[in-house]
Structures are given as C-alpha cells and as structure tokens.
Amino acid sequence: MFDILLRIQRTGSLSKTRPHAMKSATPDTLQAKLHKTYGRALCIRHVDAGSCNGCELEIQALGNPYYNLEGTGIHFVASPRHADLLLVTGPVSVNMEEALRRTYDAMPTPKWVIAVGDCAACGGIFGSSYASRGAVDNIIPVDVVVNGCPPSPTALLQAIVEVTASAPRSERA
C-alpha cells in the first residue's frame, strides 16, 4: 500500500500538461458552458457501429491522466438513457444499423451526435456495400464530424467543446 501511495505521489498530476486545445477550454470554462446548457455535467455514450477499434483506442485515451476528461465533469455512461452526447465510430455496418438507431432513440432529447473518424464521417476505406451503410449521417442526424484515422484525443476534445456550443440537430428537427 505504501509503495502505491509513493508512486501516486511521484506521478503527480499529469493533466497539467494538457494539450493546447484543452487549455483554451479549461475545466472551468468548459463546465460553465455545460452548466449554462444543461445545468449539470455532460454525459457521453459511445457506440461502435462497425469500427476497426482504432477510434475506440483514442476515445479511451481521453480518460488517461493526460487528458483527464472525467476531471472536467464529462462522464462516459453505461446507458444511452443517461446520455446527452453520442459518439459514433466506424462505418455503420448493416449488422449494427438497428442497434445504432435504437441507442439513438433511447437517448433523451435534446441530444448531440458526433461522428468520430473518417469511417463515421464518410464510410472511410470501407465505403458503402452489402455490409456497410457508410457514413453515420445516413442513419441518424450528426451534429459534428471529426476527421482522422483515428482522430487524436485533442481533436476529439475540440469537437466536444464545439458541439456543446451549438443547438443540437435533434432539437432543430
């Protein structure tokens, strides 16, 4: 136990070295923004609609001590019923189409959707075929697209800040 405490002390706070994009949106400003819109923290749900797992790795990286997403009051939640924001990765495989729709429908409104990665943006290298419906926007309304294969955690953070500044498409509809 003592060794663990020592190691924690030596590691210190790594999120101080947060990348540039995050500095412009410090936890305080981000939280103030969210507070204005939601009056509480932002809850995110992720759905892999057919990705290669590369994009998942970068979403997971948001939780590491360098990006420390949870420290800004942004949480990943286990159920779409608790989520404000949906991150969708991958081209939408036909086998995931129904699950994606149902996840989206289960979220309370207003809700935002971010298409994460080139595949979610346009179908990427997989395109559209008997097995793939291509872009996420072909299936559910998308608010913001983050390009990249996979997009960096910094690009993901920027998109999260950006999307929360706009009225969701689900409301406009």
């Binding site: 590691t11 990705s51 790795l57 360098y66 036909v94 075929s129």
Partner: protein, 514 residues
C-alpha cells in the same frame, strides 16, 4: 494422406515463412485433416474462393499451422457442386469458419452447425455477396429474425443477454449467459456485428493499395496486419525489403505489442478494483503513443508498413527520444509488476479466475498469448523466424497456469521482452533506404503473409488479379480461435468476473467479423 505423402506432392508458396501447398480431392482433404491433427498441427483458418469464371469450380482452402511450417490445402469441388467435407469434428474453430464461408460464398460443409454466423439479416439468405457475379455495391433491406441460441434448461437456470452495445467504450458483440444463481453454465457469443465486407472490398482494390485496408481490419493490430499483407505481396513479387525498413517494421510491431499490453494491464487492474493500475498504465501508454507520433507521425502506426518498406524514415533525434522513453517506461513497468505481484487483494481476484487447462487449450486450438498463458509455447517469431527475428529472436514467454493471473504474467514478460528487442534495434539501426519499388506481378499468384501480432498469428492470403488488381484476399485474426477459449474460461466462474476474464483475453471483434 500421410504427412510424408503430403510432403511429396506439396510445392512452396511465396511467403515470409515456409508454406507448402497441396491440392486434393474430397477424400484427400479429409485425410489430410486427420494427418494434420495427428501430427499436432492446428487449423489456422479456412476460406473459400469462387473460381467459376476461371475453371468452373468453387474452392475451399485450409491453412494448418505446424511447428515450423504452414500448410495450405486446396480442394476444388466438382463442377456444379458446393459441398465439401466438414472439419468441425477435428478442429472446433472450423465450425464458425465454415458458417462464415457459407454466408459469404454459399459453399456448404457436409456437417456442423447450420445457423448463419456473419449474416444477421442484412442480405437475403439466397445472396452470397462474395461470389464474383454479385455486384459489390448492391445493398439490401434488413430482414432480421431471432437467432436461435442454444437453450440450457434445468431447475433455476436463467439467461442474461448482453450487447451488442456494451457499457464501456468497446466493440460490439452479443453474449448470452446461461446461469444458475451467479454461476455461469454456458456462454454463447453471437459475433459478426462489425462485419463490413472487407473481403469483397479488397476485390475492388489494387494490389499496391490493399495494405491500407489490411491495416484497418483490426486497428489495434494495424502493424501486424499491414506487415502480413505486405509480406504476401513482396514474396509474390520477389521483393527484398531494405534492412533499415525491415528493422523499423519489427520495431513497430514490438511497439504495438507494448502499447496494447500496457493498455490491457491497466484495464485489468481496474476491472479487479485497482484503479491505480489504470491510471499508471494508461499514462505510460500515452507517453509511448506521443513518441510514436514524434518518430513516425502516427500514434498507432497506421500505414507505416507499405509495400516495399515503410512510409516514414524517422529522424535520428526522434529515435533517440524514443529509446530514452522506452528505457524509462521499462523501469516503470518493472516497478508496477512488483506492485501487481505483491498486491494480495489484486492477486486474489486474478489467481484461479477464468482458468483453461493446457489439454483443453490445445483441443480448442488456442493461439498467441492466450495459448502461451496455458503453457503452449508457440510464437512464430521464435518457431519460424522471418527477418529480422532470424537475427534477434525473442525469448518466448510462457506460464502453465491458464488463469487471468497467467495472462497478466505473460503480458508483463512479453512487454519487457519487446522492450529489450526494441532497445537492441534502436542501438544498432541499419542505415540506408526505407522503401524500394515493387516489380509487377501477373494474375493468379498466391502469396501468404504470416506475422505474430500481439494477440497471436495474423495471416493474409493474397491472390493477384488482372491488371494489378486483387482477385481474392483472405485475412485471419487469432481471435477466431481464442473466442472458443474465452467461452470455456468463464464456465463455473461467477458472472461478475466475466469483465475481468474477458479483458485478460481482449479479443478482437472487428478482426474476427471482417
């Protein structure tokens, strides 16, 4: 068809390892399978091809992994027929592979499970999308129907359905647990959710571009798949990759292994209630990824391996910084290993959990790190070393216990061994070109790439088409085999330990679904 007879009639296929190919009739196919099993070779993969345009036949191909060689057995079904002898009684993994072949090509094994596997209702039962006369752009309306899971009956037996969308940031799949109380009696997965038609997509690509798709079959193993694809193509065109590129590829493969092990070791600590582990290991992984970006311009090394070499020639300064980071990560990993090993509460959760015995692992065809954690010391890098592993061969990590703790131990050992290899290569990096031009190849050539990725053997079978196109490309991820092990490992465990057991395997969905 004894092994000796097979030797006699076999001819060599272009590959980075030793591959022998034999074409047999149905009886020979069946007997070859028997001989393989008796000789201790495992079925690595199975794929079909529609050659009706060429000679009127459908063909089925099996790849068997022997200790120092890969065997490829071909069987052309008589004209007008689509049936071949099932391998499912000899090799358990054959069952799902055969179901996948049927869903995509309409070729039928004469036994085994009749349920669809990759087809979930996204295309009609009468359409076989991988046949040559089926338009790749043709889409269909979904007609889903209930999947008949195997029911376990008895007093107090109940089911828990999970997925395809899971609680965390992970890939989709469905798990059907049958339980009594908390105890798992059966786990039946349903996979295929991320099937996105990779094999069909290959057929509309050029040979010299296909590596980009191969690199995206399974994103956490992008170097392994990219290298396997390029090996198949390069051996087919008799291309000799420059030494600097060879070393950089191996460096990348080991870095990929280290990055994945770091990620999983952290997640395993977390799933066992030690959040400290996740914080520490995810920070180490991030440090490594940042150095990747500095040296190679890519955090996950996507598209680093290209036909003829590598796409980036890293600066000496970036490689020095990488070497220094790796030395520091190595110190941290050693320290954390001691903390994990000495932590009684953690070990209590890991030891004896999700156990698979060695005999069972062998019978189910276990591969890669999961097999090594059951005491089966197979590692392509040592068993059939291709350059540069023929010059610098890793010490194979193994542990016979077969539980979650064993898989943690093997991950620690492999991460540290990879760091040692990286240190050697970084200290003695060849100079010169990093990429050379490939010569053209005619149609109808088959090349095999076989690489030990971080999960285990990754295979690409690539056949050239006309005008520099791809006629057929089959990729195989070791998760096909290891899903069977996972289903076995959870039996008699409590369902609450499933996340921990699952994470200790960390199998690929995308690599499996294709």
């Amino acid at each position: 068809m004894s092994m000796d007879t097979l030797e006699h009639v076999a001819f060599r296929l272009p590959s980075n390892v030793t591959v022998s190919r034999v074409a047999l009739d149905a009886e020979g196919w069946r007997r070859a399978a028997d001989s393989m099993q008796q000789a201790g070779a495992g079925l690595l993969t199975l794929w079909g091809s529609d050659d009706r345009d060429r000679d009127g036949h459908f063909r089925i191909h099996a790849a068997y992994l022997a200790r120092q060689r890969l065997w490829v057995i071909d069987h052309a079904m008589p004209t007008g027929t689509t049936v071949y002898p099932s391998l499912a009684t000899l090799f358990p993994v054959a069952d799902r592979l055969q179901r996948a072949v049927r869903d995509l090509l309409g070729m039928h094994a004469d036994g085994g499970d009749g349920r669809p596997w990759l087809r979930h209702g996204g295309w009609p039962e009468s359409v076989f999308p991988l046949r040559r006369d089926v338009d790749p752009a043709q889409a269909h309306a979904i007609e889903s129907s209930a999947y008949p899971f195997v029911r376990v009956s008895g007093d107090g037996v109940h089911e828990i359905p999970v997925g395809p969308v899971h609680a965390g940031t992970i890939e989709p799949g469905h798990f059907r647990f049958s339980l009594v109380g908390e105890k798992v009696l059966r786990l039946e997965p349903r996979l295929g959710y991320t099937h996105k038609g990779v094999a069909k997509r290959f057929e509309s690509m050029r040979l010299h571009d296909g590596h980009r798709l191969a690199a995206r079959v399974c994103g956490d193993s992008t170097v392994a798949f990219g290298w396997a694809y390029c090996s198949a193509l390069e051996s087919m065109t008799a291309t000799v990759v420059p030494p600097r590129a060879v070393t950089l590829r191996a460096l990348a493969l080991e870095l990929e292994r280290v990055a994945n092990h770091l990620g999983d070791l952290g997640a395993l600590g977390n799933d066992a209630g030690l959040a400290f582990g996740l914080t520490q290991f995810s920070a180490l992984k991030e440090r490594l990824l940042r150095r990747h970006a500095e040296a190679f311009g890519q955090r996950y090394l996507f598209d680093l391996v290209i036909p003829g070499g590598v796409s980036v020639d890293p600066q000496a300064l970036a490689l020095d910084a990488l070497a220094a980071e790796l030395a520091s990560i190595e110190r941290d990993v050693r320290e954390l290993r001691t903390l994990y090993t000495d932590h009684a509460g953690l070990q209590d959760r890991l030891q004896g959990t999700g156990c698979v015995g060695q005999a069972q692992a062998r019978a189910l065809g276990a591969l890669g790190l999961v097999a090594r954690a059951c005491g089966l010391e197979h590692d392509l890098r040592a068993d059939m070393p291709w350059p540069p592993y023929d010059q610098l061969t890793p010490i194979v990590a193994a542990c016979a216990d077969g539980d979650v703790a064993a898989r943690v131990k093997v991950r620690f050992a492999e991460a540290l061994e990879s760091l040692r290899l990286c240190r050697q290569w970084l200290g003695d990096m060849p100079t010169g070109e990093v990429c050379i031009e490939l010569s053209e190849t005619g149609p109808g050539q088959l090349g095999i790439g076989l690489i030990e990725g971080w999960r285990g053997p990754v295979m690409v079978a690539l056949e050239s088409g006309i005008n520099g196109g791809i006629r057929r490309c089959h990729v195989h991820d070791p998760s096909w085999q290891n899903w069977l092990l996972l289903e076995w490992a959870v039996l008699n465990n409590i369902v609450a330990d499933f996340p921990l057991i699952n994470k200790s395997f960390n199998l690929s969905y995308s690599g499996h679904d294709g």
